[in-house]
């Protein structure tokens, strides 16, 4: 009969589409496996102790490593964190604990907009703001660029973490005659620690892999780490440079650096997420 035929078709359609959706998810996982697989296989085969203990060698000489660039990445992330953590946390406190609805939605909206600004533009901004007036590429300008990328992420995750602290905690603290700001710092922030640390660590992981804002702020340095107002190398920057170079030795080092960066970035991500899953 017509209706049973229609039902059969509908049932097959149902199955087909559900399978297709499953395949879509499998494709995404497939990309992850491909990218990680190649990075790990290539990276491991080119990775050695020299890579982390030696500075770069000039063009033409084989060997050498990325000690200074690894160091540089830590310094840049450090500068960015020093700037972005206070700003982001205080802005997060403002959003969650201080602001009225209207002010909060304005700031929240701008934080989201700032988070959506392409990182290359943040790099151009840092260039125009710091590199040009100071007439020098510098670690500082790169740190500021990374900080601008971190701030909205830290602010929004801190806000959300503090929102999760139940209101009863606020009332209990106020009822003890604790003033608002001591309540926020002494009760709300500790109660939101897990969430805040999660957000901060994810922001750090994100920023550690950023390359675009470093190209014309940090620039890279052939002489290692020299100071905050001097150019500085960074792991992702070096991956970019070496990958586009014509020397196979450098390309191999790019893979090794990619391996190290993936371990660092995904390592933070995995640990942080596992911890926060367990807390839930």
């Amino acid at each position: 009969m017509n209706s049973t035929g229609g039902n059969l078709r509908r049932r097959w359609m149902n199955r087909l589409m559900l399978v297709i959706c499953g395949c879509a998810a499998a494709i995404v996982i497939g990309f992850l496996v491909l990218i990680l697989g190649y990075t790990i296989i290539n990276g491991v085969s080119y990775f050695n102790l020299d890579f982390i203990t030696q500075a770069a060698k000039p063009v033409g000489e084989t060997g050498g490593g990325m000690r200074e660039d690894i160091f540089g990445t830590f310094i840049l992330v450090g500068i960015a964190s020093i700037i972005a953590l206070p700003v982001g946390l205080m802005a997060g406190i403002f959003l969650s604990e201080v602001a009225g609805d209207k002010a909060a939605s304005v700031i929240r909206f701008s934080a989201d907009i700032l988070a959506g600004v392409p990182s290359i533009i943040v790099g151009v901004f840092a260039y125009a703001l710091l590199v040009r007036p100071m007439h020098s590429y510098s670690a500082l300008s790169a740190g500021v660029a990374l900080a601008i990328i971190m701030i909205p992420v830290v602010a929004r995750t801190a806000e959300e973490a503090m929102h999760l602290v139940p209101n009863s905690q606020r009332e209990a603290a106020l009822a003890l005659g604790i003033s608002r700001w001591r309540m926020i710092l002494g009760v709300i922030m500790p109660g939101a620690t897990t969430g805040i640390v999660t957000g901060v660590m994810l922001a750090i992981a994100r920023v550690a892999g950023e390359t675009a804002p470093l190209i014309f702020t940090a620039l890279g340095s052939a002489f290692g780490v020299q100071g905050l107002t001097e150019p500085i190398g960074a792991l992702p920057l070096q991956i970019y440079r070496y990958a586009l170079s014509p020397y196979s030795d450098w390309q191999k080092q790019a893979w090794a650096a990619a391996f190290l960066l993936v371990i660092l970035v995904l390592g933070i991500n995995i640990v942080v997420r596992l911890v926060s899953y367990r807390k839930k």
């Binding site: 959706c21 998810a25 995404v28 990075t39 403002f94 959003l95 125009a128 950023e210 970019y240």
Partner: protein, 316 residues
């Protein structure tokens, strides 16, 4: 019977609280200030180029540092084209994955799969670019571009020599990078659809798939559009991976196989070598154009996503 509330009993907060809340306000305003600063500083540094070229900067196709003639059209075109290719690939895959995560899979499947997709989002762009350059591009050149050229070559899109690097590779890389974003947001938006909507559809005798297309997707349509536009915003501004696989050639061409440039790749690859106020100003103007586009796209996306998630959030 008491009348309307009066406000007499509001006393001034303590000094510590006043200082502290003003301090948080200051840091919150810093976010606004950064955005304003971005606009102002970029405009100042772009001014030489804006003054010289005016609106023709957008429509001109030349980029000649020697003669100091600069135009943005090929970069704008490349940005839009590569993002479009990215979305054409990413949207169906992302929606399929989101449906799988939100509607089909049990928690013990969807949680690890979501986790892995988040991992894909966390991989630094430069590493995806490295993979794209050394692994994907050779594969795109041969067999994919060769096959497409041989079989669909009558179509202008698929004409020209297979370089490997070019718009097609850039588009595919962008797809890989925005899929996790679109998937995650779409999944959340679908989660926000009340289960009564699903049950009502199933009670009418709908199959699972009909329930998804008939109840879930229409209900969260605007949120899904927002998710896609947010992905678009990300694709437009994506820099490193694209720069590494697009070939950096500045021309207007219909061929997807051809090397090209996006605004971001142009800025990234030339900025540190640029000299002279006009050259740098032109690159910064390019950045401003990109800023304007992404700002617009992000604002639209935020409004759409916020609206559809606030429907769910009323119970708070």
């Amino acid at each position: 019977m008491p009348g309307t509330p009066d406000k007499k009993s509001v006393s001034r907060p303590r000094i510590g609280d006043r200082i502290f809340s003003n301090l948080t306000l200051f840091f919150a305003l810093l976010i606004l200030l950064i955005i304003a600063g971005l606009l102002v500083v970029l405009n100042i540094d772009a001014w030489p180029a804006i003054q010289k070229f005016g609106i023709s900067f957008i429509t001109s196709i030349s980029w000649d540092p020697v003669r100091e003639e600069f135009g943005a059209l090929p970069a704008v075109y490349g940005t839009l084209l590569s993002s479009l290719i990215g979305l054409v690939i990413a949207v169906p895959v992302s929606l399929g994955s989101a449906i799988f995560l939100s509607e089909l899979s049990p928690v013990w499947v969807s949680r690890p799969v979501s986790f892995l997709i988040e991992m894909l989002a966390a991989i630094p762009s430069v590493i995806i670019g490295l993979w794209g350059l050394f692994v994907m591009v050779p594969f795109i050149r041969d067999p994919i571009e060769k096959y497409l050229g041989a079989n669909l070559g009558f179509f202008p899109l698929f004409q020209g020599p297979p370089f490997g690097v070019g718009f097609l590779s850039a588009g595919i890389i962008l797809a890989i990078m925005v899929i996790p974003i679109i998937t995650a947001i779409s999944r959340d938006v679908m989660h926000a659809v009340p289960s009564t909507q699903r049950e009502a559809m199933l009670a009418l005798g709908a199959t699972h798939w009909e329930m998804i297309t008939g109840a879930v997707l229409p209900y969260c349509r605007s949120g899904l559009v927002g998710a896609v536009i947010l992905g678009l915003g990300r694709a437009l501004g994506e820099t490193m991976a694209v720069t590494m696989v697009i070939g950096n050639s500045y021309k207007l061409t219909a061929s997807l196989f051809s090397p090209g440039a996006t605004i971001a790749s142009k800025v990234a690859s030339e900025f540190s070598e640029a000299s002279g106020d006009l050259y740098i100003g032109s690159l910064i103007t390019l950045a401003l154009v990109l800023f304007g586009i992404t700002l617009l796209v992000n604002i639209i996306a935020r409004l759409l996503v916020w609206r559809s998630v606030s429907v769910k959030g009323t119970g708070e």
